[in-house]
């Protein structure tokens, strides 16, 4: 049974038809990646899942329960967390307060909260050094770490990551992807949206290629890496 499933989703921004019947599945324990050009609808897909956007038609199912009519703050309770595009750190909250916001639905006096915090600091030791610093003063890489850490603090079962490599130096990209893979091996299901298709396909199990709001290809990551059309269009290989 698929953990997360989209069936024939149509999402609009006003009159603009952004998603034209997207269907995809994410199984427990997988890393699934959505690749595609700018404006293909990758972020729109994630925002539709997390409840920031409501699809006009189609169904989003999580653990076989329809969630497409629910608002974002209800969906996060079910166990779907999103690290949004552009990181969207709360700039005038400290690093610790940002993480506390991640744990907004949980009791911050409980031991499990401290365990979560310790886990995030274990994954991103840099955040521990910067706990009292305002989010807006962090570097891009640190903000990305904080965005992922903050999403993990919600105790998700599925982690939606929107362009975690955007604007980062290559060394940092490597590091972030290694951490995503590590989080996955610890049992987290990940849906990853990336422009950096090569990196994404390297760590993903399966992938979907989006083009103008439609899924044009769906296959295992390995097959997509070897697909000539994908190589030419998204991997920059001739």
């Amino acid at each position: 049974m698929a953990l997360l499933e989209l069936q024939n989703i149509h999402t609009y921004y006003g009159k603009i038809h952004a998603l034209k019947g997207v269907s995809l599945t994410v199984n427990q324990g997988e890393i699934v990646t959505l690749i595609g050009a700018n404006g293909a609808g990758k972020s729109t897909t994630l925002r539709t899942i997390s409840g920031l956007l409501t699809p006009r038609t189609g169904e989003v199912r999580f653990k076989d329960q329809r969630i497409d009519k629910q608002p974002a703050h209800e969906i996060v309770k079910l166990g779907i967390a999103q690290s949004p595009e552009g990181r969207r750190i709360f700039p005038r909250l400290t690093v610790l307060e940002n993480l506390e916001m991640g744990a907004y639905l949980h009791d911050t006096r409980s031991q499990s909260y401290w365990d979560d915090l310790e886990r995030v600091f274990g994954l991103f030791p840099r955040l521990r050094e910067r706990v009292a610093q305002k989010g807006g003063t962090l570097s891009g890489g640190e903000q990305q770490m904080l965005a992922i850490g903050r999403a993990l603090m919600t105790r998700p079962q599925v982690l939606l990551l929107d362009e975690p490599s955007m604007g980062l130096a290559p060394v940092l990209v490597e590091q972030i992807f290694a951490i995503i893979q590590m989080i996955n091996t610890q049992g987290m299901t990940v849906l990853l949206v990336e422009q950096n298709a090569l990196q994404a396909l390297n760590i993903a199990h399966r992938g979907y290629v989006l083009q103008s709001g439609e899924v044009v290809l769906a296959d295992s990551a390995k097959a997509l890496r070897e697909n000539e059309a994908v190589q030419e269009k998204y991997l920059g290989l001739e």
Binding site: L52, R92, L93, M101, E118
Partner: protein, 389 residues
């Protein structure tokens, strides 16, 4: 870290406690500094000007100095009035980037609720037996409740449906709400025994307290503060402390700040953004309502149009302090209050009575405001506006 994970976690916890204490106290210290600073700066200007003018009129210097303490007290009272109203503007702006022009009317409604409660108490003969402080407590709480709920209702019916619309649309809606509330209150007031100019009945608060007596030639100049003014300042300070605690040290306050910084991301954290916005209106409205009650209590009468000018001034104070910034609203209120008090007391004295200070106070205060904003467009405590990416 591997050896002793809990030690570092506890460290983080301690840092947080210190941080919370710092965040609750810091705005109050800042506010105190601005009160003292405004008093000192304006006081010095007065001393210098009075000294320069005293060559032609020797008595002027003495008189100017003698009324100085009284003017400062007056400035503090006005300052806290603007500050408590300004908080409503700034909190709503912080979350929605929207100016709630009906907030002056929320303030006015608070005044009317206070006057209504006072009238009812007078009718049943409670006014003479009730201790004055209990009276203040009851009227302030009543004003806060009604104004808070009214502000929340206004948001629900007039602003929320327009959330996605272009910015000017809710602004016009707010101006409309302001007119509706004015005339609604006028209708209610004139069809009840309260009347258009409603008297604000209060128990006897006693005589003004004489703090000092400054000798001035053969006469002497008393420095007075009325018990109502003391009540005003005390209640305002208590509310500011409570608000700072709520916003800076509680989970709810963190949710308010997060929503103000990034609404959609806050909802991804599980924050019900609509609830937080309603709450912001409730808190801002309650503060405005309390200010209305205290204002009516001090002045003695209320009318349906009394919210307009204080509303505009409080909005100015919020901009002066840096709109969206809570401490800024308080500071802006204090600075504007001082400016007004000084100008209205000294202008006619220094111009030999050519300009009446009271009628030029607004012009002078707003001119200084414009000057400050030319040099600091983001306000006294405002942060430079950064482009959201």
């Amino acid at each position: 870290m591997a050896g002793e994970p809990n030690a570092s976690v506890r460290n983080v916890g301690q840092q947080r406690t210190v941080e919370i204490i710092r965040m609750v106290l810091l705005p109050l210290v800042q506010l105190a500094l601005f009160i003292v600073g405004s008093a000192v700066v304006l006081g010095l200007i007065i001393v210098v000007v009075a000294f320069l003018l005293s060559r032609s009129d020797p008595m002027l210097f003495q008189t100017a100095l003698a009324i100085l303490p009284q003017v400062m007290i007056d400035g503090v009272v006005r300052g806290f009035l603007f500050a408590t109203i300004a908080l409503g503007y700034t909190m709503v702006y912080g979350v929605l980037e929207f100016i709630n022009f009906a907030h002056g009317e929320i303030f006015m409604v608070g005044g009317f609720v206070g006057a209504g409660v006072g009238y009812l108490m007078q009718q049943i003969g409670l006014l003479t037996i009730l201790p004055p402080l209990l009276f203040v407590l009851i009227t302030v709480l009543a004003g806060m409740t009604v104004s808070g709920l009214l502000a929340m209702t206004t948001e629900r019916i007039a602003y929320r449906p327009l959330r996605g619309a272009p910015r000017l649309v809710p602004l016009i809606s707010a101006i409309g709400m302001s007119l509706v509330l004015q005339d609604l209150v006028r209708l209610i007031a004139t069809s009840t025994p309260l009347g258009f100019n409603a008297r604000f009945e209060t128990p006897d608060f006693g005589q003004a307290i004489k703090l000092a007596e400054i000798p001035l030639g053969e006469r002497s100049m008393p420095v007075m503060i009325s018990p109502k003014a003391i009540i005003f300042i005390t209640v305002a300070v208590l509310m500011l402390i409570a608000l700072n605690y709520l916003v800076n040290a509680t989970r709810l306050g963190k949710a308010i700040r997060a929503t103000a910084q990034d609404m959609s991301t806050a909802s991804l954290m599980g924050v019900n953004v609509n609830q937080i916005i309603a709450l912001t209106f409730l808190i801002g409205g309650a503060l405005g309502g309390a200010a209305g009650v205290l204002f009516g209590l001090n002045i003695g009468t209320v009318n349906p149009y009394m919210g307009f000018i204080p509303g505009i001034k409080a909005f100015t104070a919020a901009v002066l302090g840096g709109i969206g910034n809570i401490t800024g609203a308080m500071v802006g209120g204090i600075v504007l209050g001082f400016l007004e008090a000084f100008v209205s007391s000294y202008l006619s004295m220094f111009t030999g009575g050519k300009f009446s200070g009271a009628s030029y106070a607004d012009i002078a205060a707003f001119s200084i405001l414009i000057l400050i904003l030319i040099f600091r467009p983001s306000g006294l405590l405002g942060e430079a506006v950064t482009q959201k990416v």
